[in-house]
Symmetry: C2
DNA sequence: CGGACGCATTGACATCTCTCAAACTCTGCG
DNA sequence: CGCAGAGTTTGAGAGATGTCAATGCGTCCG
C-alpha cells in the first residue's frame, strides 16, 4: 500500500516543479534528449531528518537520485535493530532497476532532496538510451566497489582500525559533500553523520568501545575531538597507518583534500 | 602487457571450441540470436587450482562468466596480504563492463572453467541486446546485495557469530554447487573452499580463533567437523540463532535444502 | 618407509572488547 | 534558571580474542 512515491503518504514535499538534473555530475554528460526525458518523469521530493524514503521489502514505484543531503541504507534484523550498510550522498542512486523489492531501507540522515524517477518510464528510457544505461551500470559497479572496501574495513580485528578506516572513507568519498567535510586552517573537519550507537552497529562494536576508540585515536595525535560528532583530522598519514594501509596509495592526502576544499570555498 | 585473455601467458587452456552458454541458468532464457552472438565472441578457458585469472589494477580484455569450479575475488593490501572479498561459482560474472581496471584479483580456488567474452564485441552486443543488458545489470545488483549481506555478517562482534553466518551463506548461496554442498542422510555436508588462514582474513580474525570457533559450534551441536574442510550441518536453526538471525526467515531450512539436494542426486 | 612441509589444532597468557553501571554534557522546555 | 531526557563518556570486572609457541595430522617426495 505504501509502494507509491511517498509524496502524500510519506510526508515528503515537492520542492520544485522539476529537478535540476544536470547538476548531478554523473548525469551532466548525458545527451540533451535524455536529460529532457528524465526531467519529464522525475519528481523532486524533499525529506526531513529521520524520514523513511523507502521501506525494505517493498518495490517502490521510483528509482531515486540523491540531489542533496545524506541518506542511509539499512537492513532490519530480526530483533528489530537497524543495521546500516551504506550512506548515500549527492549523485548516488538507489532502487532496483528492472527488479523486485528493495532489500534495504532508505532513511534520511539530514534534510535531503531526492529526484524520484517513475519506474516504468525510467526503465523504458533505459532501453532507449545506452548512455543512461551505462551511467546506471557504472553507478552500481561503484557501489559494489564501495561495499567491498567496507568488507575490508570491517574485517579489521580492532575497533580502532575499523574506526580509522571509516574516517578515511568519509574523507575520500564525501569530500564533495559540504555537510560532512570542511577545511580548517591546515586541518580538515569531519562531521560524523550518525550517532555512536549507529556507528557501533556499522563497525560491529558497541557505543562505549567506539567512544574509547575515538579517544584512543585522539591520544595518538591523528585526530582531535572538537565535539562528539565533529572530528578534526590532524594527521591523515597516521590515521591511514592505524587503519592498516588498506589500499596502498589509494587514499587522499591531507594536502590534496585541503587544496580541494579550499578551492571550493573560494 | 598481461591485459589480454590469458590463453597463452596465463597458462589457461582452451577446454572446448566453444562454451555451452545455455547451461548457465542466468543466460538460458536469452533469445537464440543473442546466445549465438555470445557463443561467437566467447572463448572457454580452463584454470587449475591457484591460478590467477585476472589481476587487480588491470583491465582484462574479457568479461568472465564462471562455468564451473570456484574462484575467489581478493584485494591486495599494502603489506602484500590478500584479502578475500567474495567467491564466484557457476553462473557468476566478473569484470567491469564499460569501465576501467578491475579492483579485485580473481583466482581459481578449484579447477575452474570460465567463458571469456571478448570485451569490445560484448559491450557492443550489450547495446544491441536489452535482454543481455538486463541480465548483466541484475547480476551486478545481486552481487551488491551479497556484499551487503557480508557487511552485516562481518559486523557481528564475535567470531562464532561471523563463522555461523559464513556457513549460512555457503548453504543458501552455494546450494547448487556440487563442490561445496552435498546431502547426507538427514544432514548436509559443506565443503569449506578456503583455508583457515584465508577464512580468518575473510572474517576478520586469526586462524587459531577460527579453529576455536569451529569447535565451539561443534560443541554446541549445530555442526560436526568431519574433516578440517568438511563440515556437517546438523542443526540449521541452531546455526541461524548463533549467526544472530540476520535476516528473519530469509535463510534456507534444513528440510528445504535436503529436498533440493536429494532431488539433484536422483 | 621416513622425513619434510604445510596446515590445523591446542595451550598459556597478554590484550582487547563487551557488559553493566554511573557520571557527564548538551539541548530543549517549563 | 532548573529540570528532564537523550546521547556520550568513564570506570571496573568478566569474557572473548590476539599472540606466541608447541604439538598433531596429512600429503608429497625422495
Amino acid at each position: 500500500m505504501e509502494e507509491n512515491i511517498p509524496d502524500n503518504q510519506g510526508g515528503a514535499r515537492h520542492s520544485r516543479s522539476n529537478c535540476e538534473l544536470s547538476q548531478l555530475s554523473q548525469l551532466a554528460e548525458l545527451p540533451v534528449d535524455t536529460l529532457k526525458e528524465l526531467a519529464r518523469i522525475c519528481r523532486p521530493l524533499r525529506f526531513q531528518t529521520g524520514q523513511i524514503v523507502a521501506h525494505e521489502g517493498e518495490r517502490p514505484d521510483f528509482i531515486g537520485f540523491v540531489h542533496s543531503g545524506i541518506l542511509r541504507m539499512q537492513k532490519t534484523l530480526e530483533d528489530g535493530r537497524q543495521h546500516i550498510v551504506g550512506l548515500l550522498v549527492e549523485g548516488d542512486m538507489f532502487g532496483r532497476v528492472f527488479d523486485g523489492p528493495l532489500n534495504v531501507s532508505v532513511e534520511s540522515v539530514a534534510d535531503a532532496e531526492v529526484c524520484a524517477m517513475q519506474r516504468a518510464p525510467f526503465e523504458s528510457l533505459l532501453l532507449r538510451s545506452p548512455e543512461l544505461d551505462r551511467v546506471v551500470l557504472l553507478n552500481i559497479l561503484d557501489e559494489l566497489d564501495r561495499a567491498r572496501d567496507w568488507m575490508i574495513i570491517l574485517a579489521k580485528p580492532k575497533v580502532k582500525e575499523r574506526l580509522a578506516g571509516f574516517l578515511m572513507v568519509l574523507c575520500s568519498r564525501f569530500a564533495g559533500v559540504d555537510h560532512i567535510l570542511r577545511a580548517g586552517s591546515g586541518t580538515i573537519d569531519v562531521k560524523i553523520p550518525i550517532s555512536r550507537t549507529d556507528l557501533a552497529h556499522l563497525l560491529g562494536s558497541r557505543p562505549e568501545s567506539i567512544s574509547r576508540a575515538f579517544h584512543a585515536l585522539a591520544d595518538g595525535g591523528s585526530i582531535a575531538i572538537k565535539k562528539p560528532d565533529l572530528i578534526e583530522i590532524q594527521d591523515m598519514d597516521a590515521l591511514c597507518v592505524v587503519a592498516g594501509d588498506e589500499d596502498a596509495g589509494n587514499h587522499p592526502t591531507m594536502e590534496h583534500l585541503l587544496e580541494f576544499l579550499h578551492g571550493r570555498d573560494d
